[in-house]
């Protein structure tokens, strides 16, 4: 065996790569369980690609057939229901895991020097995930599929001058239709493979600078680290076990919990359902879009810009945070802002879930006001984080010298 590996290594240094990048790769020894979510995201990506590939073997992209074909997968294909429910719930879990992954990065300052490029590739992956999930959701061609596609593609029509033509080009017609469905299927197949490629760049950037850690200080010597294998392979596997228990509980016992019932109605281009909401993982961004309604004829463009901006702003986060300390564990003000931001995102999601003209407290407080306030707080987080660190308002607590 070793003879064979020697022969291979002379021609393709596999052993060397495995040693430096996996088995002997030095990892901070104090990582907590929040660091499990990166490898969990990789697990879900693999589940999505595997179930997706086998679903594609039964699926047909055709406006007249797609809805029935998904029902055929559910009823006739052996374990088709399992493939489909695992794929549909997998998308929800993918976002759940990735949101925790992002929030962990925000809390422990993982976006900061020297991890900016690592962070940026993460945002690019997040963008591509959203696009992929959106196009996948169109494929069953239910009511939510159709109207989700109509609304999201119409976002482009807000672009001045070329918007209307661009939308027609994306549709391949004058409304969302068969050409749209076909190209979305093609792209939904392609994009996860591109995501996989970008994940490799993400890991490359990670391994160049090494993992951050809860204390948020740089690694000094070997005493600070453990080899990735077996210490973190086993910890990640433990996380996989917990994850699969929760994931399977949903797939087998509540498979439609995250899905919208209206998507079990075939697409009808003549009627928008009365209660149309996007998938839960888009709700906070959807709420931001909807909150900008006070600018007259500019509201549409401004809403789209605010929604895109709410993600784009993450790109400059590494430059907004000027604190000398990386981890929020030692930054009391930043920590409070972070939790306000977190709760704010949850409220935004809840606002997005409710109808646009809903109100609370017996109609005394229109939800649109809550949405506008939460949108302001969302962007306020980034501004305040910059302000308290740039003007040295925050006094940080003592940071340990070593791990």
């Amino acid at each position: 065996m070793s003879k064979i590996m020697e022969w291979v290594d002379e021609r393709l240094p596999v052993t060397e790569l495995l040693k430096s990048q996996a088995t002997e790769y030095p990892t901070p020894k104090n990582l907590n369980y929040w660091w499990n979510f990166g490898s969990l995201a990789l697990l879900v990506l693999i589940i999505m690609i595997a179930t997706g590939l086998f679903l594609a073997m039964h699926y047909k992209a055709d406006a007249n057939q797609s809805f029935d074909v998904v029902e055929h997968i559910m009823r006739d294909v052996n374990f088709g229901w399992l493939l489909r429910y695992a794929h549909a719930n997998g998308a929800s879990f993918f976002f759940m895991v990735v949101y925790i992954h992002i929030l962990r990065g925000m809390y422990y300052g993982s976006y900061r020097k020297p991890r900016e490029i690592l962070w940026w590739f993460g945002i690019i992956i997040f963008f591509m995930m959203m696009g992929t999930a959106f196009m996948g959701y169109v494929l069953p061609w239910g009511q939510m599929s159709y109207w989700g596609a109509a609304v999201i593609t119409n976002l482009m029509s807000a672009i001045p001058f070329i918007g209307e033509d661009l939308v027609v080009w994306i549709w391949g017609g004058f409304a969302v239709g068969d050409p749209t469905l076909n190209r979305f299927f093609a792209l939904h197949f392609l994009l996860p493979l591109v995501i996989f490629g970008v994940v490799i760049v993400h890991l490359w950037a990670l391994h160049a600078v090494h993992s951050n850690n809860p204390v948020g200080i740089d690694l000094h010597d070997e005493k600070d680290t453990l080899p990735f294998h077996p210490y973190y392979t086993i910890k990640d596997l433990y996380g996989y076990g917990i994850f699969m228990i929760i994931f399977c509980a949903f797939v087998f016992y509540a498979p439609n919990f995250f899905l919208e019932p209206d998507n079990y109605i075939p697409a009808n281009p003549m009627q928008t359902p009365a209660h149309i909401v996007p998938e839960w993982y888009f709700l906070p961004f959807y709420a931001i879009l909807r909150s900008i309604d006070f600018l007259g004829s500019f509201s549409k463009l401004a809403g789209v810009l605010a929604m895109v901006g709410s993600i784009m702003i993450l790109f400059i986060l590494p430059f907004l945070d000027r604190s000398p300390v990386r981890s929020f564990r030692y930054r009391p003000l930043s920590r409070q802002l972070f939790w306000i931001f977190f709760v704010d995102c949850l409220i935004l999601g809840w606002v997005g879930y409710n109808p646009a003209d809903a109100a609370i407290f017996d109609g005394a407080l229109p939800l649109i006001i809550v949405g506008r306030t939460c949108t302001a707080i969302y962007f306020g987080y980034f501004f305040l984080l910059w302000a308290i660190t740039a003007f040295d308002i925050e006094k940080h607590q003592p940071v340990p010298k070593s791990i």
């Binding site: 109207w147 109509a150 609304v151 999201i152 593609t153 119409n154 976002l155 029509s157 027609v168 080009w169 994306i170 549709w171 391949g172 017609g173 004058f174 409304a175 239709g177 050409p179 190209r183 281009p269 003549m270 009627q271 928008t272 359902p273 009365a274 209660h275 149309i276 879009l289 909807r290 900008i292 309604d293 007259g296 004829s297 500019f298 509201s299 549409k300 463009l301 809403g303 109808p355 646009a356 003209d357 649109i368």
Partner: protein, 173 residues
């Protein structure tokens, strides 16, 4: 030995090759981009004929035209009056009701919200007695004009004409 003129000749050749290469890539990319534009079968223009003789006052039907929904509403006198009255108000997208309905009795609207393209709810919904879009809460009045919410413009009126008393033709050949 390489002279100065040789060098500039080489620079020119490099540049020219690069330019031809770039033009070639752009030319090769164009068919891919263009393949997304509406195909010939989609482009074939369609008109839709609607028999409006069966419509009672206040009744509304949704008819497909080029794959898009069109509302045909036979308005009641009260709805026409409400639409006329609003002519003088400050509207986000000013338009006279008389310019929007060829016959005041019949309101013909392309039923796609000008915000992000959902179909508004049927007549009598929302705050202005017209149409409420369920997606992001835009309110339209009984002339299909935008009154409240994020939509930037009135519901468009498609080209239509009355072939005779009871037949409405939507679209132009």
């Amino acid at each position: 030995m390489v002279t100065e003129s040789d060098e500039s000749r080489r620079d020119f050749l490099t540049l020219a090759t690069g330019a031809v290469g770039a033009a070639g890539v752009a030319g090769a990319a164009w068919p891919f981009v263009k393949s997304w534009s509406p195909s010939a079968d989609v482009l074939s223009q369609a008109t839709t004929e609607v028999d409006v003789s069966g419509l009672a006052p206040g009744q509304m039907i949704t008819v497909p035209w080029q794959g898009k929904p069109v509302f045909v509403l036979r308005r009641t006198p009260a709805q026409i009056e409400a639409a006329r009255k609003a002519d003088s108000e400050a509207l986000p997208d000013p338009a006279k009701d008389a310019d929007r309905a060829k016959k005041p009795e019949y309101l013909v609207l392309l039923a796609l919200c000008t915000h992000l393209g959902c179909v508004p709810q049927p007549i009598g919904t929302g705050n202005y007695g017209g149409f409420l879009c369920p997606c992001h809460g835009s309110h339209y009045d009984t002339s299909g004009r935008i009154r409240q919410g994020p939509a930037p413009a009135n519901l468009p009126v498609p080209y239509y004409e009355f072939k005779d008393e009871k037949t409405l033709v939507i679209g132009k050949v």
